[in-house]
Symmetry: C2
């Protein structure tokens, strides 16, 4: 088993969407799903390109309500490279596939698709695709198609385009929601071989500019093909035609650049996008510098491990590499200069809308040891949204800063307040935002970063203020139980998302969730440590800025020592107060009845149960 290659043999329409997700290529700045270049979005294929932090809000009228969602926007599809041979558009569904091998080279970050097929007229053709999203030049991507007619000669027509007519359609359960995020702005031919597209997102007004240069080569060099420009609203492409000779391959190269209005160091994103593609080398040049970047990444991030002989055929090594690969495509070296967080599903697709939950907790340990500067910039994503978190705390009747469970562009709570249950057709309250423990995670992450790097400047300028405001928030959420002489936190959700309130209760949330309470004690203690750790001058500054007096920090100390932790009778910590009074769930019965019980919450709600 090659530990550096994900290999798929054969074409399986049913599996295609999963393959596309797993074969996503990205560089932390943008990501493109592993969809074929010759197919538009349909039931089986879904080309998707996403910008790190490229959000847009849309309102939807649905079942009597207006709800607003902030989505990760599907940007113009730069992949489009359609092939027509003697009047037949190449479509995997309409040919006999003779060979089909798809490989994701994790070491070099290259996706290859090697296809041989026979069409209805008996013509056999080989189409080999290579693709990269450049890891050294984050605004560049490239694709190469080599087409060889094995047993025929004839005409090949090619359409190479930038398609900004795409919508957000990647997630089945979002299908009823508004999905037209892009407004067309401009299409243009930059030169003979280069087309340019400008669109912008409707609400967030992010301008996105793409330029694409297409070249065709045979063994003797570049072909001077006639090109016809196809311009539609939000779409520009070129149609090219050439004669193929039996056994002789031609190679099509498409080099694409993308810039947006959010980028640094630009005079204007359209201008930069054009400039970048005009000065970019060919696919092979790009591949060399791209692969070198990946080589350097792996030199940093590869883990030393040995697989026992009896597991040699196991996928373990490949799976580990695949996971690291996608982490490094989501939080890359280029993240260091962006204003983004750690999205729970990478920038790989539309599910979870590219939102930032608490997943950084699980990612930072890896980054901290290799490139802590990435962690630092991801923590800055939180610092920049501190004021929004303060507003949220105030709005909920608390003090300090309350970071949202789901965070997007400006740090507003992006969790929906209600969800339409497709099983029951009812609106059900979504209590997931009561997972306030994301705040403890942020404080913990700052602490860990500081422990790993000793970067007290970050702590001093940014980290401390966040930890102190989060501590203040937690302190304000506690209530004193005089009888027990303990502080309690009522009405929250722990990380266990299946338990969000008590049976028959009117108020959402649970009381004294052990994880939350213990982390609260830790955060309060940590806040006091930070005040002791920083230079006296800075501590005084912070106390003045935050109006944080001795009385308040004394109170933190008091609370940190007296947080309530509920135990079961046998001395085991209870997940939350009252957990031991819940009935055991009928696992077997439900599994038999429903088969897949992954969305048990929805099944139960449809049964009027929880």
């Amino acid at each position: 088993m090659d530990p550096w290659t994900v290999t798929y043999d054969g074409f399986d329409p049913e599996e295609e969407k999963l393959r596309e997700a797993l074969c996503t290529l990205g560089n932390g700045y943008f990501a493109t799903r592993g969809a074929t270049p010759y197919t538009d979005a349909d039931g089986g294929h879904y080309p998707g390109t996403y910008l790190a932090g490229g959000y847009n809000r849309l309102k939807t009228n649905i079942a009597g309500r207006v709800i607003e969602n902030e989505d990760l926007v599907n940007l113009p599809n730069w992949l489009v490279l359609k092939l027509r041979m003697d009047d037949q558009w190449f479509d995997l569904g309409e040919v006999d596939i003779l060979k089909y091998r798809q490989e994701l080279d994790l070491k070099q970050g290259v996706l290859t698709r090697d296809i041989g097929y026979r069409d209805s007229k008996g013509r056999e053709t080989e189409v080999v695709e290579r693709r990269l999203v450049h890891m050294a030049e984050p605004h560049l991507a490239g694709m190469e198609l080599t087409i060889t007619p094995k047993n025929w000669s004839g005409q090949l027509e090619i359409r190479s385009a930038l398609d900004g007519q795409v919508i957000n359609g990647g997630v089945e359960r979002y299908k009823t929601l508004s999905s037209h995020h892009l407004k067309p702005m401009e299409t243009q031919s930059i030169d003979e071989e280069t087309v340019f597209l400008r669109v912008r997102t409707s609400q967030s007004r992010i301008t996105v500019a793409q330029a694409a240069r297409t070249r065709i080569f045979d063994d003797d060099g570049m072909l001077d093909t006639h090109r016809k420009v196809i311009q539609k609203s939000g779409y520009i492409g070129q149609d090219m035609a050439l004669a193929l000779s039996e056994g002789k391959g031609v190679r099509i190269e498409k080099v694409v650049s993308m810039y947006t209005s959010q980028d640094h160091a630009i005079a204007e994103c359209g201008l930069e996008s054009g400039k970048a593609v005009l000065s970019a080398g060919g696919f092979e040049d790009l591949l060399v510098s791209h692969a070198l970047s990946w080589k350097h990444l792996w030199e940093r991030f590869e883990m030393g491990f040995r697989v026992k002989p009896e597991y040699e055929d196991d996928h373990t090594a490949m799976i580990l590499h695949l996971n690291l690969f996608h982490l490094l495509q989501s939080t890359s070296i280029h993240t260091m200069d962006l204003d983004v967080g750690v999205p729970s599903r990478g920038w790989h697709g539309e599910a979870y809308r590219g939102h930032i939950f608490w997943d950084e907790l699980f990612i930072f340990p890896m980054l901290n040891l290799q490139v802590p500067e990435i962690t630092r910039s991801l923590l800055m994503y939180r610092y920049r949204r501190l004021n929004e978190a303060r507003r949220a705390a105030e709005g909920a009747g608390f003090r300090g800063a309350m970071y949202p469970w789901q965070s997007g562009s400006n740090g507003r709570e992006e969790s929906q307040a209600v969800h339409l249950n497709p099983k029951s057709g009812r609106w059900i309250p979504d209590n997931s935002r009561l997972q306030r423990h994301v705040n403890a995670a942020i404080a913990y992450n700052i602490h860990q970063y500081n422990e790993c790097t000793g970067d007290t400047e970050f702590l001093s300028f940014y980290g401390a203020e966040m930890i102190l405001e989060i501590a203040r928030f937690w302190a304000s959420t506690t209530t004193y139980n005089r009888e027990l002489d303990r502080y309690e936190i009522l009405g929250v959700m722990g990380p266990d998302e299946y338990h969000d309130m008590y049976p028959e209760a009117e108020r959402a949330g649970l009381n004294n969730n052990a994880y939350t309470n213990i982390m609260t004690a830790w955060v309060l203690k940590q806040a006091l440590n930070v005040l002791a750790l920083l230079p006296e001058d800075r501590t005084r500054e912070l106390r003045e800025i935050l109006r944080l007096d001795q009385k308040e920090t004394d109170q933190w100390d008091e609370i940190s020592r007296k947080m309530r932790v509920v135990f079961h009778d046998d001395g085991i910590i209870s997940q939350f107060e009252g957990y031991d009074q819940l009935e055991e769930f009928d696992w077997e019965g439900y599994s038999e009845k429903y088969g897949d019980i992954q969305r048990l919450d929805r099944i139960l709600e449809a049964e009027d149960d929880t």
Copy 2:
């Protein structure tokens, strides 16, 4: 002499523009000149508001050429607060001024203007203005006008507006150039007391959103005044009217927010701008947090010094504070999260177009010792433009990276290739871009930052690559003089801008400028030091990325030891080769003939001389 206050007594129309520049308030994010709120731009007054890094390019057809300039854009004027008393608009030029005292409080960052006047009808009125551009909340500014009718009662009308109809008109010698940078986009009333304006720059497409909330108070509290909204293209304001009673003051508060599409952590700049002003406190609240920020800045940056008794009446202390004050308004704590450099004239006006020359060389020593994080972010401005500098080097036939003499949005050379001499009406070549020594300054600044902070992470990720590419550039500019066994640099300009070429020479530039050659030797040596200083892994990475082999660095070592330095016969280092053969200039004769000989270059060119 109060060392913390700049004081002007009396109104002097001639001096007003200088006062406006010196009384500019800013916070590193934006800056606003100290112009009065009741006057539009005219000969004597020039309200100007500038965004750090807020550039736009415009082309001008002039004297048979099309030239393009990248300007620092004058943004919508948020100051507008005009007063009309019984049908007479308040205009300093049309009243008898009884008292006039303008004070810039350097300690708190507050500008005050205390005016008493008598109008043509004998009415005496006092108008006291206070103003701040918030140092803690960089998107906020505030103004307060207190109006007291001393000997009359009657009607006061007020117009409070956001004026996006402004142009770039602040610099006399740019007057013939295109100056309309802003395109109107939207005007809107957010609520009863708040107006909103959106414009965008024409080429760079930076969207700028401002919101302004105006409130009027008397001793009993807020007044519920009737408001009429005035909406024009690129302009929105409110007209308010109220009755004044003799001796009773009213206080007008205007709180303004500004966001742009370049900001981090926004859902959309218009939305954030409205939100910010809606949740902002009153002027007095803003003043408290603003003054606290300045207090903390001064605790860091105030220098300990004593003035000798005989100089006690001297301005020394005040001047030192004033200079620090403007530095801290130009490269502030908020710079840390922006993509900007050190502009040679701050963000205070339009002269030099907000361009980045080599001035950081003189500013960094102060920042390095107090808040080196600011230096770091200013160095990142250079790193982000490394690719552009590479393109420039290649375009000029060199290798490595050649940073421009004047840098703006994307790091392109913004120096003009030719200048129209207003004295002669001729286009003269502008050789100032031959001041390649800016590159040595950048390398030197990286080195200094590293020496002060020991931040080898910055050196490793960003600094080293710049130093190496600059070293490579310098090496490629040298030519070997076999006869002398020395390396030479021909055709550059040193920091002395009056010597840009030899008399009668055809080629611009000078040979073997001592400053340039010595700094080149230093840069090459420094580049070798950096390679030795970094961890071996990173050195290997950098050598691979830059394709920098041992032969090339050996060559650097060789050149660094054999740069030519020209001496005069008396053993003094010559400014450049041939300096000792120049005739002495007729200083007295020219001073007598022209009086002001500050722009001697233009005087001489008009005489067909250099």
